[in-house]
């Protein structure tokens, strides 16, 4: 029997990264769409949501602000960081999917897209853990995710507070999925292409 790829019977690190990046790119595109669609559907005038900006629950995960900072981080720590960032969205997304039915104007398209993001996130998380094992066997996902305490705000009876909560959640989702996508594309070049794609 011939193994599909010559490097032995496993999917190569380069291929794992390529597949992960297809998913991370897609997840971020969906997250951007859901953020814009929510804004278009629920904003009540220009600047309505600017007062909604507040800290993301993942702010506790320190992430590199630019390329030079990214180049200072150990690859193993960077992979763990990405796993934690992505893993921190499992809980909020599943609650969002259940609670979003409360939103006015039948947000079925929104819920469908959030469900697709949740599914792809889980798929990507599985892949990142596989990548982690190949990068450094010591990398284990200890489930040390950022704590999310936003459920009560998704159940608020005050419409403005409810809309502000969802807006900020979608804004943070867009930002964090962009971070994951950006970091994976960077890590692929650093790890699987020896620093130069």
């Amino acid at each position: 029997p011939i193994c599909p790829n010559r490097s032995g019977c496993q999917v190569s690190l380069r291929e794992l990264f390529d597949r992960a990046i297809i998913l991370s790119h897609y997840i971020h595109s969906l997250s951007s769409e859901i953020f814009q669609e929510f804004d278009a559907q629920y904003s009540q005038g220009p600047g309505f949501f600017t007062q909604a900006i507040s800290m993301c629950h993942t702010a506790s995960i320190s992430t590199p602000a630019g390329k030079e900072q990214a180049q200072q981080i150990q690859q193993k720590d960077f992979v763990i960081l990405v796993i934690h960032l992505l893993g921190s969205w499992t809980k909020p997304l599943s609650h969002l999917i259940t609670e979003a039915r409360r939103l006015p104007k039948a947000p079925d398209a929104l819920i469908a897209k959030a469900t697709e993001i949740q599914e792809q996130n889980q798929r990507l998380l599985e892949g990142l853990k596989k990548i982690g094992k190949l990068v450094d066997p010591e990398i284990i996902d200890n489930g040390n995710y950022a704590v999310w305490l936003g459920l009560p705000s998704l159940q608020s009876n005050d419409l403005q507070s409810l809309l502000f909560a969802y807006h900020n959640l979608f804004r943070c989702l867009r930002r964090d999925t962009h971070k994951v996508d950006n970091y994976l594309k960077f890590l692929k070049c650093q790890i699987a292409y020896d620093g130069s794609c």
Partner: protein
Amino acid sequence: ESPPGKPIISKCRSPEKETFTCWWKPGTNGGLPTNYTLTYYKEGENIIYECPDYNTSGPNSCYFNKKYTNLWTIYVIRVNATNNMGSNASDPRFVDVAYIVEPNPPQNISLEVKQPEDRKPYLWIKWFPPALVDITSGWLILQYEVRLKPENAAEWEVHFAGQQTHFKILSLYPGQKYFVQARCKPDHGFWSKWSPVTSIEIPSDINMSD
């Protein structure tokens, strides 16, 4: 009466990189009722699983739906034949879903002769990706080929269209009937079959010179 012959895993195919099916050819049955099971493990694990669905893809097959299809690992698959006299296992088959993609053909091919004022007429060919394939996520990127030939010609003229779902044919014979087909292929993987033939008659009065 004897133990069964060695089965052979003949083909594994994924139509859209989300699910896949493996088929096998039974060996001799040793003159006895013989039972077949497909078992597999995933590289990096040592749990042995059994085929989740022996029916969806027909006889002597195992279908792995989305839930059972893992994008990150290689499946090591065997088929085991067993009868009262003993059993016999196939050679292992190594499967990475990204490398066994053979899509269905493109669909809904449409043909039109366009006659722009400022340029020569051309045949405009358009088609759609195969059904049930998600190409928006970027997970499956399809490339296309079209081929055409005049009705009585022996040979096809083949054109690679990249990821586009349309193509422009410049050199045409007025009054001729043309047959057209399209097929597609993922970045890693196999060409689909050619789509059914579509045909068009080029008007005799079109002016092919400048």
